[in-house]
Symmetry: C2
Subunit: 246 residues, 2 copies
């Protein structure tokens, strides 16, 4: 069988997330599987690099699926672009070795999160940013970002109840750049636990707003208590930019 790798961009605002739930049509996975069925008449399950939550966006989600179809890659991509809704776009399509698995082989991910800092909201960006009303101390937030980089047990910054598997992860980069009225945070790491980016972001914002001490980061690493960390910021400001493979 052929193994096909997809690089997918989607606007998550109309969807209940990546992962298909039964036969619902409101997930990204479900929409793509439906198109593959129309294209190949095969009932195929596609494997994503990981899930994204309802409302979260992607510029570079990766997925793969196995097929007996003899269509060319160019024909498949044209079919996807024609029949998928306009807010889901297959940016790239490649044939990969049969052992390639989008989830198991993923070696890291890059996410963006956008904070809207102007006094008035944006007429264009309300589905793509989080409007945070507090005045933010940029220096403190930069220090918080620097403290979070590295290898730590991030269970206290996740929505996982317990985990049999390791919850140690390495954040390689956590940067903050002003882009007009937006603050753009970039998270690069070898993996992120459930809701980890959104809880890290909430924690950084509370430090910036002065309602939380920088030292709380060390406490959460030590005590591993999710309730000690910041709020889970809304999914709408989150973008999965890239999934990495060797």
């Amino acid at each position: 069988m052929r193994n096909i790798k997809l690089t997918i961009e989607y606007d998550g605002k109309r969807y209940s997330g990546w992962q298909r739930l039964g036969n619902t049509d409101k997930t990204i996975q479900g929409k793509i599987e439906n198109i593959i069925f129309q294209m190949t008449e095969e009932k195929i399950e596609i494997i994503g690099s990981g899930r994204t939550d309802a409302g979260t966006h992607a510029r570079g989600q990766v997925a793969n699926f196995k097929t007996n179809s003899t269509m060319s890659l160019a024909e498949m991509q044209a079919f996807f672009i024609q029949y998928l809704p306009r807010d889901i776009v297959i940016k790239k399509i490649e044939e990969v070795p049969e052992r390639f698995h989008a989830r198991y082989n993923c070696t890291g991910k890059k996410y963006s999160y956008y904070i809207w800092t102007a006094d008035t909201p944006s007429a264009f960006d309300y589905h793509y940013v989080y409007q945070y009303p507090e005045k933010l101390d940029m220096k403190k937030m930069q220090t918080a970002c620097d403290k979070l980089v590295g290898t730590h047990d991030f269970i206290g910054f996740s929505a996982l109840k317990k985990s049999k598997k390791s919850t140690t992860r390495t954040i390689k980069e956590l940067s903050m750049v002003r882009e007009g009225d937006k603050l753009h945070f970039t998270f690069v790491g070898d993996g992120f636990l459930y809701k980890m980016v959104r809880i890290l972001m909430g924690t950084i914002l509370e430090i910036g707003a002065g309602t939380r001490d920088l030292s709380s980061i060390d406490d959460i690493f030590e005590n591993k208590v999710r309730q000690d960390a910041g709020e889970t910021v809304p999914s709408q400001g989150l973008f999965l930019d890239e999934a990495y493979y060797n």
Copy 2:
């Protein structure tokens, strides 16, 4: 009476344009007038710097209205932000001399137009760009922009049938910048005739695609025949960025 000046940002994709048509609620002007009625109980007509077409966006439309209301400007802005749909935002509100008139006093405008140049469409930007499928000669388009700058009779580049008033306008700036997968064109001038930006844009694109000669610009200035100019590109790629006043 007080005279209030508004600077307005709107996403035009859900609207049939700026200008109220009877009692329809699908225009930007109509939406704002409805909110003013809720706020002041006055049936007021607001005056825009000019119309924008269905689907066209604005980052800096300007309008004014007269009122007897004693509300503070901050209260008015908060009311607008709370009750207008999220895709219409009053960015700025000012009290101006009674003689200020957003249309008559406007001394110029700035527009942007965005061309999407990637092979695959964008999952995010389809309401805000024009995906133009041809390969474009950047040098020829730059020369076309340069030729259009200056004072000319632009009637051949407009959708006006005839005009008793002068159709001579001055384009002060017409620039082209690549921004990732987009080409961003900026038009600055003392005024633009009906559909003039979209027809100029269509003409520049045809020159870039090689289906039209550069010299046709001179012919259209001389012969003033709209049919000799390029297509009217879609309204969705057009943004009114600014309206200028002395």
